[in-house]
């Protein structure tokens, strides 16, 4: 459903993303991990159509993002790491606006908006201006919008940032349900426990390149530790936790 081939992004002499390729089939959750500055967000922004790749190809639901951007974007839902929204709209108005951008109209849109607000526990806030929302509420509203038009693929950048434990639990349950319904989810995250718990496949990016990828068991094999948790695997593959240095410094 999400196909990324030989994706490259160069800023002058700096190579931010180097030949990244990945594939997320329908109904699967794909984790995209890496330390800060590894190229995760740049890759995600290219897949969302926010950045133009230097080279490479992205296709969503069989539509090439460069050649058929409207068709590709129609099939995609995007959840950014920071939920910047139109503060002077109410939640319901924002969802109506968002639906309009994706060609949704009429009573179906109203019903779907209500359904989404209910799923993400925002019903009683539907008529309030977004400027009064907390960070977590805005994050949940962005998710409402991302799933509103029934996308075939969803791209998530740091889903758990700013969510309380109940919100995080809710999001995990919703992502699982969406994936069971056939939605492909590509998720970039720093929360390794979430990735281990939810993802069918994990890719690890470092220095702009994907250095490892596979199921949890395949990653363990690549890291050389059979019973390791994802946290240990991640540190082994990306070059250590730095805990010793921190202890020394403190």
């Amino acid at each position: 459903m999400i196909e990324v081939q030989n994706l490259v992004k160069r800023y002058g002499k700096f190579l931010a993303v180097d030949d990244v390729g990945l594939s997320v089939p329908a109904g699967k959750i794909h984790g995209f991990l890496g330390p800060n500055g590894a190229g995760k967000t740049t890759s995600i922004r290219m897949i969302a159509g926010l950045l133009k790749p230097t080279s490479g190809r992205v296709s969503i639901a069989g539509h090439d993002l460069a050649r058929e951007p409207e068709a590709a974007k129609s099939a995609l839902g995007f959840i950014p790491d920071r939920p910047f929204l139109y503060e002077k709209l109410t939640a319901s108005e924002f969802l109506r606006f968002h639906g309009g951008l994706y060609g949704m109209n009429g009573n179906g849109l109203e019903e779907r908006s209500r359904e989404m607000l209910e799923i993400f526990e925002l019903t009683r806030w539907g008529g309030e201006l977004i400027e009064a929302f907390s960070h977590g509420m805005k994050q949940r509203l962005v998710m409402c919008a991302a799933f509103l038009h029934r996308p075939k693929a969803v791209l998530v950048d740091e889903p758990m940032v700013g969510l309380d434990p109940r919100g995080a639990q809710l999001i995990k349950a919703i992502f699982r349900r969406m994936s069971e319904n056939g939605v492909a989810i590509l998720m970039s995250t720093h929360t390794l426990e979430v990735a281990q718990e939810m993802c069918d496949h994990i890719s690890i990016i470092l220095g702009g390149k994907i250095i490892a990828g596979g199921t949890m068991d395949e990653l363990r094999t690549q890291a050389g530790g059979q019973n390791d948790q994802l946290t240990e695997v991640f540190f082994k593959l990306t070059g250590g936790s730095g805990f010793r240095e921190i202890e020394d410094a403190i």
């Binding site: 950045l51 133009k52 409207e70 929204l85 002077k88 709209l89 606006f97 968002h98 951008l101 009064a132």
Partner: protein, 569 residues
């Protein structure tokens, strides 16, 4: 105590990020910065030169009237300072809301072990700088103009500098104190809206009042004896108690080589006393005001359901409709946005009133020619007014998406559809305004019917071109991180738009003016227009039309391309 620990006690240390940021910006020059600096610098020097020239000329001519001239100069200085006093005061209240309560860096600073006095003085200085730089920049060529015309000595310039400092500090101290009080009554964000609205109403009323006093009467010979009456009206019994009067008197004395210790002393002692008062109020009220500013309150807002109903019936594509609905709602709910419309209405009223009171019949032999010439001046002015409106409301339309632009960019909406929706949303009100201004002012002037039609048609096409140019240049020079849209309008792109718009207006008026005046000349003399002239006239009208259509079309294409190339927003 270590040097680093002591540093935080010095309030100037807290201003380091401001200076360091400016230095870093200057050191890391980007492509086009030199050109931008050249354009801004050139325009600023040009404006300063004009102000200096006008003030020099006025003062020079006032010297001819001896005592009356001295009197008018003295009152003029006092009146100028009075205008700036109110300007700095209002500006300081609004700025203090940002610097003391709404700035992003306050959380960092308040969590740090910084003494209260350091925080106060750093913010006080920042407020003073932000609220008064425009007045100071304007005052420098004014004071030089007066000084050079009166051949003043060095004392005048030293006193000028020493007068400006306390003159600015007094309204800033009053403004900061008022803000500290206000925020303890209203939440900070609401207080800003209320203040913006009050300030604009004040500015609008001031503009209307000043206009309706009809200062142009002073220029007519028969009303010369009324000058003193005019100034008496402007003066009031409380004027001598105001710092503007003290500043005017101090400077006037310095112009004649004397030091007015009384008024200079009043200025400095009041500035220091008010600063101490503001510091004391800060100590008492700041933290409770800051806490209140952090509390989110349920905002009241208009639902505007009728708008959605209305637009639902409009025969436009769904994505456009969604964008237009969103833009109109966001605009109407943002008080800082729509309240500026009040000022616009006031300025439009003044604009039309000017034509209403224009008495061209005093010159009977030339009145028809003058009226028709004025019709072109009117066309140019109306086009300039609509450019000014477009730079404020249409140019920032793309930037208004702010950090939320990702929503549109990740949606299946073409950038062309997005920019066209911005264009149409901006065009409708601007077109109505432009046509009303042109048609009504030509009606007041009583110009030839042919010219009325030419002007109305010309402004119609010019509006399309100027609005497209604004939307397009806004897309080419967006500022998604700007704190407010006024900043966007005043950015490099906004200035570049105004330069391009003025060039376009001048060319268009030249292209329309020549054939129109030719037609009127032949019509007045009742002579048939030769064929070759008709061809040239048609060619020039055609060129004017082509200029509008070309500007409109090329602008929109360039704007769409710029949006498609956009990265990182």
């Amino acid at each position: 105590m270590s040097a680093a620990a002591e540093a935080r006690y010095v309030f100037t240390y807290l201003l380091t990020p401001v200076f360091r940021g400016a230095l870093n910006r200057a050191a890391r020059r980007e492509r086009g910065d030199g050109f931008r600096a050249g354009v801004f610098g050139g325009i600023s020097l040009g404006v300063a030169g004009v102000i200096f020239g006008v003030v020099f000329w006025l003062t020079w001519h006032l010297l001819d009237y001896e005592e009356l001239g001295q009197y008018v100069l003295r009152l003029g200085l006092s009146w100028l300072f009075l205008t700036f006093l109110s300007f700095v005061l209002f500006s300081a209240i609004v700025t203090a809301l940002s610097t003391f309560f709404l700035s992003e860096d306050l959380r960092l600073l308040l969590a740090a072990p910084i003494p209260a006095h350091s925080l106060f003085y750093s913010r006080y200085l920042k407020t003073a700088g932000q609220a008064s730089w425009m007045v100071i920049v304007f005052m420098i060529p004014v004071l030089f103009g007066v000084g050079v015309a009166k051949c003043a000595g060095l004392l005048y310039y030293i006193v000028g500098f020493l007068t400006l400092v306390p003159f600015v500090l007094i309204p800033v101290a009053v403004g900061a104190t008022t803000t500290l009080l206000l925020v303890n009554i209203f939440p900070a964000r609401r207080a800003r809206d209320v203040l913006m609205l009050m300030g604009l109403l004040f500015a609008g009323t001031l503009v209307l009042l000043l206009r309706f006093v009809r200062p142009e009467r002073l220029l007519s010979l028969e009303s010369l004896p009324d000058i003193t009456d005019f100034f008496t009206v402007i003066q009031s019994p409380i004027t001598p108690l105001l710092p503007s009067f003290w500043a005017g008197e101090t400077l006037f004395a310095a112009l004649h080589g004397r030091v007015d210790w009384l008024h200079a002393g009043a200025l400095w002692s009041t500035a220091l006393a008010f600063s101490v008062l503001a510091r004391w109020t800060f100590g008492r009220l700041y933290f409770s005001g800051w806490s209140k500013a952090q509390e989110a309150r349920k905002a009241r807002f208009t639902r505007l359901e009728w708008l959605e109903g209305l637009l639902a019936r409009a025969p436009i594509p769904l994505a456009w409709r969604s964008l237009v609905t969103k833009d109109v709602k966001v605009f109407l709910r943002d008080t800082t946005q729509w309240s500026q419309l009040l000022l616009l209405v006031a300025l439009s009223a003044v604009y039309l009133y000017n034509f209403r009171v224009l008495d061209l019949d005093r010159l009977p032999y030339m009145s028809d020619l003058l009226k028709n010439l004025y019709a072109f001046v009117n066309l140019g002015l109306a086009a300039f007014v609509l450019s000014a409106v477009a730079v404020r409301f249409v140019f920032p339309a793309v930037s208004a998406e702010g950090p939320a632009f990702w929503i549109v960019r990740t949606s299946p909406v073409r950038m062309s559809a997005f920019l066209w929706s911005k264009f149409w949303t901006g065009l409708a009100p601007v077109l109505v305004l432009a046509e009303v201004l042109t048609i009504l002012s030509n009606e007041f002037l009583g110009v030839a019917p042919f010219l009325k039609v030419v002007d109305a048609v010309a402004i119609f096409f010019m509006t399309f071109a100027l609005v497209a140019l604004a939307a397009s240049m806004g897309a080419q020079y967006p500022r998604f991180r700007a704190e407010n849209l006024t900043q966007v309008a005043g950015s490099y792109g906004g200035i570049a738009y105004m330069v391009a718009a003025v060039a376009f207006i001048v060319i268009e008026i030249a292209l329309i003016g020549w054939p129109t005046m030719t037609y009127l000349w032949f019509d007045y003399h009742d002579v048939r227009i030769p064929t070759w002239r008709r061809i040239v006239m048609a060619a020039m009208f055609g060129a004017a039309l082509l200029g509008c259509v070309g500007t409109f079309w090329v602008s929109m294409r360039r704007g769409v391309r710029a949006l498609e190339r956009l990265e990182g927003a």
